[in-house]
């Protein structure tokens, strides 16, 4: 325990000495302060007492509680915690493992009575402090703003802290592996960012194919319903053109499925940064009375049709995510990938001569 506490204290001192850490904490406060400075009333939005009338953004459409929650969701989670703060955290922590294994440093540590596995994993965990402290500061501030300005006290909001840490840990496991292989903080950072971008691409592709698959399935159902209704009204009704269209849509659905399932399998084995964020949003809907997240407008326009309403499509996507992309899939499989990377890191670290 003495050793673990010493490494944790050392990590705190390390963070404390990094300007980027304090800068990101400062930005977190600024972001929350800006949100707190915003207000909403029946006529529109206010900023530090200045009123900006709006026909759409006012308390008739958005109660204050919803208004602040939406800002937390779209600004806090979508932009700050899962992108900008995560990038700052990666920049700041990319050097932790390379620094630890640098000549001179590693000799001092390995010559002490502490196992290599324990040393590596403890040091790796300290790398998560950055993201953890940052998320805790931001979420606590947001909790206060939503409570004080929006009038809703939502302790469910705090689920965001561990989820953001877990989200960051996927990337940090990659960073650690690259760091241990290359001993370079720069390589570690660049390769992690590139991999993150690739993951984003793969997940976007899976999301696109899933949207196409669901939209086509809804289309197929709608045509089948249309045929059934027509036949019910008149058994001799001409439904040939509908049947042709149905066959075409079924063929299309089959193509979407052929594309989708391999993508789904690929995403399943990879860490799911986007899906983890989406899961968090759904969790906030369940436990902190947030609104279900709106889907991407571009996708909706792309897949919209006369038969399938946007609302139905959106609901089907949400249902699909709820049924298939729970915590086990979104987070569990990502953590499994992360565990595999950490196992590789530990294996290399245990066997390497320094």
């Amino acid at each position: 325990m003495t050793q673990t506490l010493a490494i944790f204290l050392d990590a705190y001192r390390d963070l404390n000495s990094r300007k980027l850490f304090w800068l990101s904490i400062f930005i977190s406060f600024v972001v929350v302060a800006v949100v707190a400075a915003l207000g909403i009333d029946e006529q529109g939005v206010t900023v530090l007492g200045w009123r900006f009338p709006s026909k759409f953004v006012n308390t008739l459409f958005f109660p204050p509680e919803t208004y602040y929650k939406l800002i937390f969701q779209s600004l806090g989670i979508d932009i700050w915690l899962t992108w900008l703060a995560a990038i700052l955290a990666l920049v700041s922590t990319a050097g932790i493992i390379p620094d630890m294994i640098a000549g001179g440093s590693i000799d001092m540590m390995l010559s002490k009575p502490i196992g290599r596995t324990r040393l590596f994993l403890t040091r790796w965990v300290t790398g998560l402090f950055f993201a953890g402290i940052q998320a805790a500061v931001f979420v606590t501030s947001s909790f206060l703003v939503i409570g004080l300005r929006g009038g809703a006290w939502e302790p469910g909001l705090f689920i965001a802290v561990p989820v953001v840490v877990v989200f960051f840990s996927y990337l940090y496991a990659v960073s650690a592996l690259v760091g241990i292989l290359t001993r370079s903080a720069i390589a570690s950072l660049i390769i992690t960012l590139v991999l993150w971008l690739m993951l984003f691409g793969v997940q976007s592709a899976e999301g696109f194919l899933n949207a196409g698959r669901i939209a086509t399935a809804l289309e197929v159902e709608a045509i089948e319903r249309q045929i059934a209704v027509r036949l019910e009204r008149n058994a001799d009704a001409d439904v040939e053109s509908l049947r042709t269209e149905l066959e075409s849509e079924q063929a299309s659905l089959s193509r979407w499925n052929r594309g989708y399932w391999p993508a789904y399998a690929l995403v399943t084995v990879l860490p799911k940064t986007d899906e983890t964020t989406e899961w968090l949003k759904r969790e906030l809907v369940r436990n902190a009375s947030f609104r279900p997240p709106a889907r991407d407008d571009e996708n909706l326009r792309f897949f919209g049709s006369r038969r399938v309403k946007r609302k139905d499509f959106e609901a089907a996507l949400y249902e699909d995510a709820e049924s298939r992309k729970g915590a086990l899939w979104s987070i569990g499989t990502s953590v499994a990938f992360e565990a595999a990377l950490l196992f590789a890191c530990t294996w290399i670290f245990r066997r390497r001569d320094f």
Binding site: A6, I7, D14, G104, D107, M108, S111, K112, D353, F354
Partner: protein, 341 residues
């Protein structure tokens, strides 16, 4: 075998054990580079042991194997009675690596305290010991400053304090005087003597042979991954023991200028000696064997100005051993004797 609370290392029958006892240590790096080819060495309790060798001889690899920084290809032996290469063996071992690097965000005091904690030293003990060690290495006044502001010598002192924070029974120092000024070197030498007096064993790896010679009880010379010599400096230089007798031989003295003395060679003394001074070298470690030579010189009218017992320096021994080894390794190469001619 066990390390007692009072710090003594004992075996099952209560006998004192070797602090370090390594047998047949080999290390072959990837690519087939043989860094160590079956090195054995033993450091006794309460002795300063010098590890010598040219660059690339395998000294650092051996030290790193002892400290578990490098994994051996094969290793038998014990460190303080525990199997070598295990974590348990390191609890009472202190180590100062050659090119150590401390976390730049720590102060000197925090460095010592941090490594104490990593060695599982309880907090209260650590605090008291940290202050005492900072005092010992002369860093107490600067202990609150970040290590990045320290000179190389100051960092070395902090490194030594960090190596001692777990109250080690075996201290392994890799180039401890590196970057330290002459005053600091003397202090470090005094510290090594003090550690020995406290019953601790010290393994010193250093290029500064003069430094090692002043404090080491025994030395080992490693070359090309093999131990080529081990023993006390006296033992290793036994063949070179001699007496040097300086005498001024007056003009016209019998046998002048080089009065013949059986078993001795003579030559004009080095510059700085009075004119007409010659030096006779008698190869013996026994003072009694020198007396007839002195008598003979005096009988011949010479004035004896100096009689001194001498032997090969550690540097001479080191160079001879390494060159001998190279000579053996490279057929056709000339031996040291031939070089002198």
């Amino acid at each position: 075998m066990a390390v007692r609370k009072d710090g003594t290392v004992s075996g099952a029958n209560g006998t004192r054990m070797l602090a370090l006892d390594l047998q047949d240590v080999t290390k072959t790096y990837r690519g087939g580079v043989h860094a160590l080819r079956g090195v054995s060495l033993s450091v006794r309790r309460g002795e300063v042991y010098g590890l010598l060798g040219p660059n690339g001889a395998g000294k650092s690899t051996l030290v790193k194997i002892i400290m578990t920084v490098v994994r051996p290809t094969s290793l038998r032996g014990t460190v303080l009675g525990q199997p070598a290469g295990t974590q348990a063996a390191l609890e009472r071992v202190g180590y100062l690596p050659e090119h150590h690097r401390f976390p730049p965000y720590l102060t000197g005091r925090q460095v010592v305290d941090f490594f104490g904690a990593i060695c599982k030293v309880p907090r209260a003990v650590r605090r008291e010991r940290t202050e005492r060690l900072l005092e010992l290495v002369g860093m107490r006044d600067w202990a609150g400053r970040k290590v990045t502001t320290y000179s190389k010598g100051m960092q070395q002192r902090i490194g030594i304090a960090a190596a001692l924070v777990n109250d080690p029974l075996l201290v392994v120092l890799d180039e401890p005087t590196d970057g330290v000024d002459p005053v600091g070197r003397r202090e470090i030498r005094d510290l090594l003597v003090r550690l020995r007096a406290e019953g601790r064993s010290v393994l010193v790896n250093s290029h500064l042979l003069g430094e090692v010679e002043m404090v080491a009880d025994r030395v080992a010379i490693i070359n090309q991954g093999q131990r080529i010599a081990e023993g006390t400096i006296d033992e290793l230089t036994r063949d070179s023991h001699r007496y040097e007798v300086d005498a001024i031989v007056p003009a016209g003295a019998a046998g002048e200028p080089g009065i013949e003395i059986p078993g001795a060679s003579s030559a004009p003394s080095a510059a700085g000696a009075p004119e007409g001074t010659r030096t006779w070298v008698i190869r013996t470690a026994d003072a009694a064997e020198v007396q007839p030579a002195i008598d003979r010189l005096r009988a011949a009218g010479a004035t004896v100005t100096r009689v001194e017992r001498a032997r090969e320096t550690l540097e001479d021994l080191f160079v001879r051993s390494v060159v001998d080894e190279r000579g053996r390794a490279m057929p056709g190469a000339r031996g040291p004797g031939e070089r002198r001619e």
